[in-house]
Each structure stands twice: as C-alpha cells, then as structure tokens.
Amino acid sequence: MSETITISPVTRIEGHAKITIHLNDKGEVQDARFHVNEFRGFEKFCEGRMVWEMPGLTSRICGICPASHLVTSAKAGDDILAIGIPETAEKLRRMLTLAQWIQSHALSFFHLSSPDFLLGFEADPALRNIFGLLAHDKDFAVRGIRLRKFGQQVIEMLGGRRIHTPWAVAGGVREAFTREERDALLAWYPEVRETALLAIKTIKRVHEQYSKEIPSFGNFQSLFMGMVGPNGELEYYGGNLRVMDSAGNIIANNIDPREYRQDFGEASESWSYLKFPYYKPLGYPKGIYRVGPLARLNICDSITTPLAEQERRLFKKLAPSSEAVNNSFYFHYARLIEMLFAVEKLEELLHDPAIFGTQVRSKAEINRLEGIGACEAPRGTLFHHYWVDENGVLQKVNMLIATAQNNMAMNRTVRQIAMQFIDGPKVSEGILNRIEAGIRCFDPCLSCSTHAAGEMPLEVQLLGADGRVLDVKRR
C-alpha cells in the first residue's frame, strides 16, 4: 500500500514548512516535496503605500535578514528617484550588508546546522540544538553566538538597532557613522577573525567525517546565479548578474539586475505557497537554478580579500575542473568562506576614511514610475521591483526572494536524500533529520520568501478515467 511520511514542522530553519515523502506500493520513495505552508501577502498590502515607506515596511518581512530587504528596497527607491547616492552612503550600506552576512551566516552555521555535525545526525533531537551544543562544546557555541553578536552590533551602530532598523532610505542612509563607533568595532576584530577561521576549520573536519554521505546530499546538476563585480569578483551589494551551468560554463553574463524579468520567470505549484522561479531560456522546470553562497562561490572568478580567496581556491578543487561544485552540502563551506570574506572586507571598509562623511542622503522627487533594486542577501540574490504613480504611491510590487529561487533545488535535494536513505516504510528519526539537514544546506528563510500576492493562480483539471483532460478551468 502506498504511504506518505510527513515531517512537520521542519525544524531549525527560519519559517514554517513541511516535507512529504510519497512511497509506492513496494515502499520505495516515489516522490518527496518541500511544502511551505505559511502565507504573508506583502506584495499585496504594500500597494497604496508611499515609496519612501517601503524600506521600513519590507524590512519587517523577516527578523533574520531585515537589513537585506532594507538595502534592496532603498535601492529600488533610488531607482525611482533616479538619483545617485553619496559615496559615504554607499559605503555605509555596504557595511550594513556585510554585517548582515556575518550575523546570518553565523546563525545558520553555529546555531542551526552545526548541532547535526558536531553531535551527530542520530543524536537525541532534544539535545541536537544550540543548547546541546553548549553542553557539548561551550567554547565553540559561545564563539558562534559572539560572532553573530558582532554582526548585530555593526547593524546596531549603523542603524540604531539590531533588528528592523529603518536606517537605509531611498537616496542614501539616515545617519552618518562616527570614529568612536568604528574604534569600538575594530576592538572586536582579533576574536571575530579567529572565530570565522575556526568555523572553516570545523567544516573541513565535517567534510572528512561525512565523506560517505556527502555525495548524495543534494548533488545534482543545475544552473547557478548571482552577482559579480566588474572584474568577475565576488559581489554583495551591487553588480551585474551571471549565470553558470553545472559544467562551470558561463552561459549569461553582465545582465543588469534591472533586466531580471527578461531572464527569470516565476511558476507556481498548488501544493506550496512558495513560488518556483526558473531561468527563462530553459523554461520551467528545466531552468532550475541555485542562488546563495554555493552559487556565488561557483560563479565568481576571485575574492578580493586574501584569506577568503585562499579558501575559494580550495573550494574550487571540490569538483573536477570540468564541473561547477554541484553538491548542495558545500553550501555550508561556501557560506563560511563568505563569512570570512565579510569579516575581512568589513575591516577594510572600517579603515576607509570615506565612511565618516556627513553627506549621506540625496533627496529628489519621483522621476521614474518603475524601480528595481537588487542585492546579494545572505541566501542569494534579492530583487525588489516597484511600480509607482507620479506621486510615489505604490501601484504594484514584485519581490523575488533568494529562498524562492532555491525552491526547485530544495525539492530535488529532499527527493535525492529520501531516495538514498529510505528503503521501506520504516524510517528512523536520524534519516528524517538528514532530510531536514538537506533543506538546511540552503538555509531557507520562509518568512521572506512567502511574501507573495493575494490570489493564488488556480487551475482545475477534470480528468477522465483514462487520464484524458476533459475540461480546464483557470482563475
């Protein structure tokens, strides 16, 4: 008899979801799905608001990466005002974005994923969490918590508070940065750098420890997409888009993020509130692509900071030269390399005298009726697309969220792990946790990604006994 195994809720991710695994008559895995069962409606209720309010409004989507939404929304606002922002404002926004990477990546690794690696996938679920980790290796856990705190501290110093700061605005930022604040942050640096390196050392040990399991942890071919800088370097704030195939070939380059709609479409499925973005030239579902740390490390030609660049070269060796790094497990390693990059880059910016400028906000009226902002959020490329009337009132909103862009890849990962580890109807807790861990590779943030519009596209098919489509109704 066919059977469905449900994991609900999926734990240690940001948001609410469930996974269903469908078995056939023989008890073999036929399919597995990652369902996102929360619904937000941001795109709809932002309609009718002023464009200047959008950074503060959209940053409320999520408590983990509000800074990414804030900056992306402010950039969409810059586009609508059709103005350049002061140099200091851009550098400060860059610092905010890097701080966001540090705190979010530290959270993903130390708080959410490392309990699996250090305590074991089969460990008691009651202990397999940050508290269990504290009991197991207090120094490691505390260091992780403090690294995240450092990222939060930078955000607080820039924006006045750790979560949901409204500090970045269309035209720049609201307040300047001071030398005293800079000095306080630099004082943290020896510890911050050490912890970022410790995380990398730890993940390398995990690679050795789980060398047998890793090859089937979401190892499949897909495209990769992200931003790169003008020289192909790893970029996080503003750059052009690059698409790479699983063999490591660059198939599209230098795409202005403002043109994202030409290359990326969004499909919907009836069983999830999360949309399914795809690369248009290959169509849906063939145009599956991944974003986020794994994608960014794959597509970039270099990293501009020394320690992270050294690690990037080692990362590249994880796959033969004829391939990109296709295994989703290496999201963790890529994420930690990015965290190291963010630590190094932020230090570089803290020594830049331009960050102390006091001209931080350009003002203008509505000069365009459509604006797009894009930035590399911790989980991948984030787009905010606004349409306004001549008074600056939002008429339509589209947000393309990193986690949504990984949706197809997450489903494939779940299916692959389920097929690898489940044999027959009896499933151990450890195996279920491995499936969840597959999802955690992507560090999904579901509160952001299910911001979608009010009406779900609906298609009802009337099927005859022979499977023929007799009638189709669409809403």
Binding site: M50, W52, E53, L57, R60, P166, V169, R174, N391, G392
Partner: protein, 242 residues
C-alpha cells in the same frame, strides 16, 4: 471677572469664571488625557477622552467644553473613567489601520502616547481593517486616511489660524472622512497655501511630509502658541516650554 471655587479629586481649587475644567486641571497639573484638544484652537469636544464625573450630573461631561461653576465637585480619574478612556483608545485603534512599527510618526504619535497613558495592552474589539485611501497629490505633503482619527485639528488650524479652510469633514458614522475642498484631491486645491500647519498639528501619522520614512515625522506644534500670542497680544515672543 469672578473667581469660582471648586473641588477636583478631593482638593480645593479656584478658577476664573468662564474657564474650562480642562484648563483648571492643566494649570494645576492634574492629568487628563486629550486628543482633539489643542491649545490655541477652538474646542470641539469630539474625542471624549477628557470625560470627567461631576457630582449631581448623571452623565459624564468633557472637561474641555465644560465651564467651571461655583461649588463643582469633580472627579478626573476613577475605575469607570479609566475604563472608558481605554475603550475610546481601543476603538480608535480598531477603527483605522494603525501599524506603529512602520508608521512615519512612530515614537512621535499622540495616539501611541495615549495608548501607553491609558494602559491599553490589547484591543478586544475586532479590527475593522477599513479600505482607506492615501492622497499624495500634494507636492509637499501626504494625507493618509488610514491613520486619521478625525480629531479635526487640521480643519480647525487651517480655518482659524491660516484662514484658508482647505479641510472639512464629510460623510457620516464609519464613512466619515476629512476632505479637501469639496472632496477634491489635495494637489488640486486652489486654497491650500502649503503652509504645513495641518501637518504639524495632526496627532498621528495621517498628515506627513513627503519623503519621510519610518519614525521620521516629528510634529512641531510650538509655532501655534507663538502665532496666537502675536495676534492676540501683539507680542512677538518665542515660545518656551512652561
């Protein structure tokens, strides 16, 4: 002018004839919450937050419109009055679309301050989530009806101080709304002088300057006392906090 003596919360006070109960309380630092009232504008008694209990009168009366009388015995705060005030603020909250966290007037909002003052910890009435509009047609300012509490301060300041009477009230009951002229868009108003007085006296984020973001709309009301003093006493003195 005759002096009246009265009792407020068990204490004896004296007041000028014709003075309001609210005025006596304010002078003697007896707290009474208000919303529609603003020193320098006429009194309308619309919000009912300043209701007080007066011995011998079966109903509650608003302190702002009630004149002092000899021998009056007034209670400004008790369980019943406090409960009614909380109910009024809760009804205001449930009737509009007030989302403090993302509002331009967050931390500078009199409705928010009132909620703290009356101890409103939860709203037990169902939120109506009315579909209200936002008028951004003016070059400098925006009117967001979602956050309007119909205190009519904007109507009064425009009429009584600026003399333009751009604003008025239209509709009845739940459909009641502040309108520009004969319900035109604000941007098309030929009487608006763009002075911004209405924006500054508005207690919430309903009227704000274009381009402000979350928490940035600070309302500076000091100008009102300066203008009124200059007009009435021909004295051009800067306003200082008393």
């Amino acid at each position: 002018m005759a002096v009246k003596t009265l009792t407020i919360n068990g204490e004896q006070y004296s007041a000028q004839e014709g003075e309001s109960v609210l005025s006596v309380c304010r002078q003697n630092k007896i707290p009474i919450p208000t919303l529609c009232h603003l020193e320098g504008l006429s009194t309308v008694g619309a919000c009912r937050l300043c209701l007080v209990q007066i011995e011998g009168i079966p109903k509650l009366l608003p302190a702002c419109t009630t004149k002092v009388e000899e021998g009056m015995v007034i209670t400004t705060s008790n369980q019943k009055l406090d409960k009614y005030r909380r109910m009024i603020v809760a009804l205001l909250a449930s009737e509009g679309n007030h989302v403090c966290a993302v509002c331009v007037a967050n931390n500078h909002c009199e409705l928010q301050d009132l909620a703290y003052e009356v101890g409103l910890v939860r709203v037990r009435y169902p939120y109506l989530f009315p579909k209200k509009s936002l008028d951004a047609t003016h070059k400098e300012y925006v009117m967001d009806h979602n956050r309007c509490v119909l205190c009519t301060r904007c109507v009064r300041v425009c009429d009584e101080v600026e003399g333009a009477h751009v604003w008025d009230v239209a509709g009845r009951g739940i459909d009641c709304e502040i309108v520009t002229g004969l319900d035109y868009s604000w941007g098309s108003s030929q009487t608006c002088t763009e002075c911004g007085k209405c924006v500054m006296v508005c207690p919430t984020g309903a009227l704000f300057e274009k381009g402000v973001t979350v928490s940035e709309m600070e309302k500076k009301k000091d100008f009102l006392k300066y203008i009124i003093t200059a007009r009435q006493k021909r004295e051009w003195v800067a306003f200082t906090n008393e």
